[in-house]
């Protein structure tokens, strides 16, 4: 994975010093809150319901054991012993004190980490595929392209005051585990007839108040034009994106208003003007970055077959491991969704255990998934049993990947000032209710958001739940049929909302109806829904 050189380290150190100075000036009332708030947001520090919340960047969801141990240290030293992994592959800490932030950021900088641009109207964390460099279905590792973009977007002078936040995702596979169609810019590595790698560019996806799927504006962008083309897109957005209404300020609104063809034309026109300016680095820079992502040395003779006589272990292997491109290896997903626990949360102790596992068994790498789970990307199959046993003892061996109890939930009204309703308790109740039958249900992605901002990605849920405020009471809307994968669709609301108990019952009714309608036990809920439509489910829920 990427390692800072002296330039990267200098930037991060300067940022720490800058924020330390800004915090001092604020605490002495030398900066007004109005001037300070955007500065702290650009360092990922929110004021939430109970305390400040810090969102630490995990670029394209990749950390090593040393960094994971630092995340554990931060949880202990500055927080209340835990952190929350987010739907953008970052980590959030909920009990932060402003006066301690400079020291915390200095600790992060010592392990090449930071909280740049995880908030504010700027380019946010570049997310990617959690199986990068491990899955066989990949054209190339997308992460060097994400790292190139991360550097380009850091403290960009023209694009730090955009109309709204800007989210980019990169994938190297046609199997889209990064939900690129639901991002402001989605990038897919593709290969042309000459075998050269380039980027397919999609723009204008997103969820929230007006969910939309991204449009392809370039089928094949040569790598030599990568950054200048991104500059062109961002400039068109910065100049023409709406600034009169925060609910209409994302690039998806601009793309939708202009139409994808006209938007693409404006980008190409701008790009023709900026390409000659020398904004693109030479190929040696991408090569330099890519060299950091050389895969770990894998044992070509690692045995493939393993002893599956322990049924719990066998089940976990089936559900929570994915084939690795090297036959003697596997990709392990560590579930942070034990039914009844808080989705995406991990204690400091658990983080340390995962760090040790990564160092010992996984090529010293951990990935964060946008479904709030963690991945050990390169585990020998022969070591899976030992890994599993450690996970069992740490409460991290739930075998529920992509199943009914693997629920994405935003922090919701338990933590977040933007929320209208609590989301975590809904996820907990559903997970506990559905876990006993989830093996029979197969792939079922349930996603819960506590407000229209949709950080729980409810529009991309096979079953989505949106918490709203209805006359001062928490109320929950049920949506069906969404997907964030390569078959992306937006979930549609089924009917009137429910209270806390009602939504759980409604989901149960949907699932009961699915079981009667599915063509065979292997047909996913999503496919059944797409085949039969909403009516049978509407009837099941509302009578």
């Amino acid at each position: 994975m990427y390692r800072y050189d002296e330039y990267d380290q200098a930037i991060v150190d300067a940022r720490v010093a800058e924020f330390r100075d800004q915090v001092e000036r604020r605490l002495k009332n030398e900066i007004s809150e109005e001037a300070f708030k955007p500065l702290r947001l650009m360092n990922g520090l929110y004021l939430q319901l109970h305390a400040y919340m810090l969102r630490v960047a995990i670029p394209y969801g990749t950390v090593d054991s040393r960094q994971m141990r630092m995340l554990a240290h931060i949880a202990r030293r500055y927080d209340r012993g835990y952190g929350h992994f987010t739907t953008r592959q970052n980590i959030q800490y909920n009990w932060m004190k402003l006066e301690e932030m400079p020291d915390l950021l200095a600790d992060l900088a010592s392990v090449e980490m930071h909280a740049f641009q995880t908030s504010g109207n700027c380019i946010r964390n570049i997310s990617s595929d959690q199986f990068a460099a491990a899955a066989a279905d990949e054209i190339a590792d997308p992460r060097p392209y994400a790292e190139l973009l991360r550097q380009w977007s850091t403290l960009h002078p023209e694009f730090s005051f955009l109309p709204r936040k800007f989210k980019i995702a990169v994938t190297g596979s046609t199997i889209d585990r990064a939900a690129i169609k639901l991002h402001d810019i989605g990038l897919e590595l593709v290969q042309n007839d000459a075998g050269e790698i380039g980027l397919k560019v999609l723009v204008g996806g997103g969820m929230g108040r007006t969910p939309m799927l991204a449009h392809v504006i370039r089928e094949f962008l040569p790598v030599a034009d990568y950054l200048s083309y991104m500059e062109a897109i961002l400039r068109v957005y910065n100049r023409h994106g709406r600034r009169d209404n925060i609910y209409k300020a994302r690039i998806k609104i601009l793309v939708n208003d202009l139409g994808a063809a006209e938007f693409a034309r404006q980008v190409e026109e701008e790009w023709a003007l900026v390409k000659p300016l020398g904004l693109d680095p030479p190929p040696s820079e991408l090569a330099r970055i890519a060299a950091h992502f050389a895969p770990p040395v894998l044992d070509a003779n690692a045995p493939v077959s393993i002893d599956l006589s322990n049924p719990d272990f066998a089940n976990w292997v089936t559900v929570n491991t994915h084939p690795h491109k090297a036959p003697g290896y596997a990709i392990v997903t560590i579930s942070l969704k034990a039914p009844g626990e808080i989705p995406g949360d991990a204690s400091a102790d658990q983080m340390d255990i995962i760090a040790d596992l990564a160092q010992r068994y996984a090529g010293d790498e951990i990935r964060v998934t946008h479904a709030q789970n963690l991945v050990l990307p390169h585990v020998r199959r022969a070591d899976l049993f030992d890994v599993w046993q450690v996970l069992v003892s740490a409460g991290l061996a739930t075998a529920n990947l992509d199943r009914a109890s693997d629920i994405i939930s935003c922090p919701g009204l338990d933590y977040c000032t933007l929320a209208n309703a609590r989301s975590i308790p809904i996820a907990q109740k559903l997970a506990v209710k559905l876990a006993p039958q989830e093996a029979d249900l197969g792939e079922l992605k349930i996603k819960v958001s506590g407000c229209i901002n949709g950080c729980g990605h409810h529009h991309a849920g096979h079953i989505g739940i949106l918490g709203v405020d209805r006359k001062g009471e928490e109320n929950y809307q049920l949506l069906l049929g969404g997907s964030g994968a390569e078959d992306a669709t937006l979930a549609k609301i089924l009917g009137p909302g429910f209270d806390e108990n009602g939504i759980v019952t409604a989901v149960e009714k949907v699932i009961t109806r699915y079981k009667t309608l599915r063509a065979d036990p292997a047909e996913r809920f999503l496919d059944t829904y797409r085949r039969v439509g909403a009516e049978p489910f509407k009837e099941a829920v509302y009578g």
Partner: protein, 95 residues
């Protein structure tokens, strides 16, 4: 209906309740501010030491103040899903 003044401490982000002459971390120490509420905010806001100053509606119950909105009850107690962090003024179940 009684109103209380609340905000978050600048340095720490702690939820604070106006207790008459100073701030308290605990809802049960809060005093109703009623008519003087806006004047209090006008006096305190320019000092910029307490963020998000706001007046909230509460009911007086035999067990003390009960904020009318779920959001304010969560602020007074803590996350409903972490009863181990609950502040003492209201039971978690009251959220």
């Amino acid at each position: 209906m009684p109103r209380l003044l609340t905000g978050n401490r600048l340095e720490t982000g702690d939820v604070l309740w106006w207790a008459g002459s100073d701030w308290s971390l605990h809802l049960k120490d809060a005093v109703a501010v009623d008519d003087e509420g806006e004047a209090l905010i006008a006096r305190l806001a320019p000092q910029e030491r307490i963020n998000d100053l706001v007046l909230i509606d509460v009911d007086a119950t035999e067990n003390g103040w009960r904020p009318r909105s779920t959001r304010e009850r969560v602020r007074a107690v803590g996350p409903s899903v972490r009863p181990d962090f609950a502040l003492p003024s209201l039971p978690v179940e009251a959220i």
